[in-house]
Amino acid sequence: MRSAWTSQIKQTLVEALAIALVWVFFFRLNLFVFAHFEFNSRVYWLFLPAGIRMMAVFIFGWKGVWGLFIGSTYTNEAETDAYVLGLSAISALSPMLALLLCRWFYNLASTLKGLKAKQLLVFTLIGGLVNSLLSQLYFYATSTDKVFFGFVPMFVGDVLGTLLFFYMVAKLLEFLSAYHKVHG
């Protein structure tokens, strides 16, 4: 019993760390490839890691949330640790909130059985909306700048980034499927 519990903890940790690593990789990639899409130091008009957020919670659930939290804590830079932890918590929890909302609305099973492309698009929009809104509310509450400048670019960045990420994954799966058919 104890060894099964320990094994489960280890598996959760490994999966969370793997997700954190993937987040860090795509965050760095976004900084490098989409530098021209920067709105400010925290907001991009195209943010590829947003796709990692959605996939992490879709596939791994709450383990995904932990992984995103760890990854975001590593990549977020701020003056205080408390500020970073707050921002990371929003980054990690907002996709889960979007997923729970959409699963409730579409009455989807936890295994995502029957998930359609249109629903995926709705998840993307809701995910972008929740993250942008909560992030901007956090910036508003914790800074002297009392305006929502970054809401639209952040929302656009999250949605475009997620769609681009999903498209890349779909094309990769197509390529692998075609490669497998040709080479066996």
């Binding site: 295994t111 995502l112 998930l115 359609k116 995926l120 779909a170």
Partner: protein, 116 residues
């Protein structure tokens, strides 16, 4: 198959299927394809067949089967139903940008395959 890893894999499969739908043409089964071709012949003759006509002129399927496949074609975006202005009971089947794109692609594939 209830382990955490297998459930994650099932989720991944379901997610992957949904993502593929984002990048592909809606898939047609053979009967839907037959029906769409049947309707396309009428479009090519500059006719807009009605739902009722289509249901009763198709020799390969029963009227109820035709109606069911028409519903699916409509849902997938290949056909549009327009209500007759003179008689609300009559609905005409018209093409959509997707069906035009579909036949255009098929024509292109045919041209490519014969090297023209």
């Amino acid at each position: 198959m209830n382990t955490s890893t297998s459930i994650s894999y099932i989720k991944f499969l379901n997610l992957a299927n949904a993502m593929r739908e984002l990048t592909e043409f809606p898939v047609l089964n053979p009967m839907e394809e037959y029906l769409l071709n049947h309707i396309a012949l009428a479009w090519h003759a500059n006719k807009n067949p009605s739902v009722s006509q289509t249901m009763h002129t198709s020799s390969e399927m029963s009227p109820s089967t035709v109606h069911r496949h028409l519903t699916t074609l409509r849902r997938k975006g290949f056909v549009r139903l327009n209500v007759d202005e003179r008689d609300n009971r009559v609905k005409f089947i018209s093409h959509t940008p997707l069906s035009q794109q579909y036949f255009s692609l098929l024509g292109q594939c045919l041209s490519d395959s014969v090297g023209t």
